[in-house]
Structures are given as C-alpha cells and as structure tokens.
C-alpha cells in the first residue's frame, strides 16, 4: 500500500517533468537576448537588428566565444572541460537558455526571463 502511494508520487513527478518540459520547449519567445554572468546582465542584443559578430567573454581567465549570425546566437568556443554550451547549438527553443556552468555564463531570451521571474515572485 505504502509502496503504491510512493510509486504514484514518482509517476506524478515524472508527469510534472514531462508537462513542464513541453511548456518550456514550446514557450513563445521574442528576439531580445541577454548574456548573463553570475546573475548580472553583461550584454543585451535584439537579434532581429544585430549585425553578425563574435564576442569574447572572459571569466577568471577562461573565455567563451559567442557568435551572432543571421539573427541567431550560439557559443562557438569555450575552454571549459565539458563543452556542453557548444553542443547546445543555436539558442532557439523557447526559454531554454544556453548555459556554461564552469564559466558562470548563460545566454537567454530576455522577455522570457521577466515572465519567469514574475511567476516565481
């Protein structure tokens, strides 16, 4: 009996996760992008008007190279060990930010962040 309740809770957590993921993936987003380090916004770009360029962002001697091209943004180079941020590719799906944990960097759609903060508060 107790086990059934616990399995039920597991399934509930799983379903909440699935629904939450779907909401995040399909959330609408604008064109404004924030590049955030340690919770502070470093740059804000409106991707629909920004020209193609590359930026170098430093953290404690390590760098991430961020590329903006054809209204899209991604990390092209990073000297962190895991390279997760590079493999995440272009920032496009809803509100899921590109994150580089070792270098405390995240790239995210700006308007989505405000919505989220409003929900949390």
């Amino acid at each position: 009996m107790k086990n059934k309740v616990l399995i039920g809770i597991c399934i509930a957590i799983f379903l909440i996760g699935v629904i939450g993921s779907a909401l995040v993936l399909f959330a609408p987003h604008g064109t404004k992008v924030n590049i955030v380090q340690d919770g502070a916004v470093l740059y804000t770009f409106d991707l629909s008007v920004t020209e193609d360029q590359t930026l170098e962002i430093e953290y404690n001697g390590r760098t991430n190279i961020v590329q903006i091209e054809n209204g899209k943004i991604r990390v092209v180079e990073a000297d962190c060990p895991d390279k997760t941020c590079i493999r995440m590719g272009w920032l496009e799906t809803g509100s899921l930010p590109i994150v580089c944990l070792p270098n405390h960097l995240s790239i995210e759609f700006a308007d989505e962040r405000e919505d989220l903060d409003a929900v949390i508060k």
Binding site: C10, G17, G20, V24, G39, L116
Partner: protein
C-alpha cells in the same frame, strides 16, 4: 569503525570512482547540464541499505570530492555536493518506509532530490533563470533513478546469493 568496515567502504568508494570515470567516457546525448545516468549512485543506494548513515555520508562526500578532482572540474563539486546533501537526506528518511525489495523507488526519489539540489546550487550561482531546467532534470532523474535503482537491486540480490553460498 572497525577495520573490516573501513576496508569495505574504501572498496565501495573505489568502485564508485571507477564507474564514474567509465561513465565520463560515454557521450551524453542530451546537451543539458546536469543530465546524466549517475551510475556511481548504484553504489550509494546499495551502501544506504547496508551501512550506517554516517558511514554512507562520509563515503559519498569523499567520492564526489575525488570524482571532481578526477573529472578535472571543480565547479562540478559544488553542484554534486548540494545534490548529494539533498539526495542523502531524502533517502535516509525514505529508508524507514521503503524496504530493500523496493530499492528502486528510493533511488528515483534520491535522483530527483539530487537534481533539485543541483538546481538550488545553480540558482545561487547563476540566478533564477536556470530554473527552467528543472522539468527536464525531473524527467531524467526519474528515468536514471529507476535504472540505477534497478541495477542496485540486482546487485543486492546477487551479493546475497553469494553470501548464502559461502556459508
């Protein structure tokens, strides 16, 4: 802590580290930080049901420290540390309700709590934006937790069988 126990815990820590290093070599198909199988937790779940709380905690903290050194990523230590604190607290409480035959349920809760701990650490370090990862981590935590728990259950079963044969 007697010598036999010390040796057993050291071997378990060693096995967990080997599993961790092997897992590092498996390419991760999901480009989301924090998602991984966490095979080393098979050992944690096993130890949880065979050793005292203090012993398991010592073992896990030594393991995550050494794993971060071996992995060459000290940032990972902070995330693993928060994750492990959440995970161990939760599983130690759940151990009272869940018997060894349903180990995998404890493991699912452990994995999900571990992910919540990681997210908490990430919120402190990166700001609240990272909370959007939580649903993905919940899904991966449920699957990975059930899988590692299932393997731990098989391991427990086999080890018991061996002990019985030797006696």
């Amino acid at each position: 802590m007697n010598v036999k126990k010390l040796a057993e815990l050291s071997i378990l820590t060693g096995i967990a580290l080997i599993i961790f290093v092997v897992e590092l070599q498996i390419p991760n198909p999901f480009p989301i930080p924090g998602i991984k199988l966490g095979l080393a937790n098979i050992i944690t779940v096993y130890a949880l049901y065979h050793y005292r709380a203090k012993e398991v905690m010592t073992m896990v903290f030594i393991r995550i420290f050494l794993a971060s050194v071996l992995g060459g990523n000290m940032m990972a230590f902070i995330y693993s540390f928060f994750g492990s604190v959440f995970c161990l607290t939760g599983m130690l409480l759940l151990k009272r309700f869940i018997d060894e035959k349903h180990l995998w349920i404890a493991s699912v809760f452990g994995a999900v709590l571990h992910n919540m701990g990681q997210i908490t650490a990430a919120i402190f370090i990166m700001g609240t934006g990272v909370i959007v990862y939580l649903p993905f981590l919940l899904v991966s935590g449920c699957i990975a937790g059930a899988f590692t728990g299932w393997i731990a259950q098989i391991a427990v079963h086999r080890i018991k069988g061996n002990d019985a044969k030797q006696k």
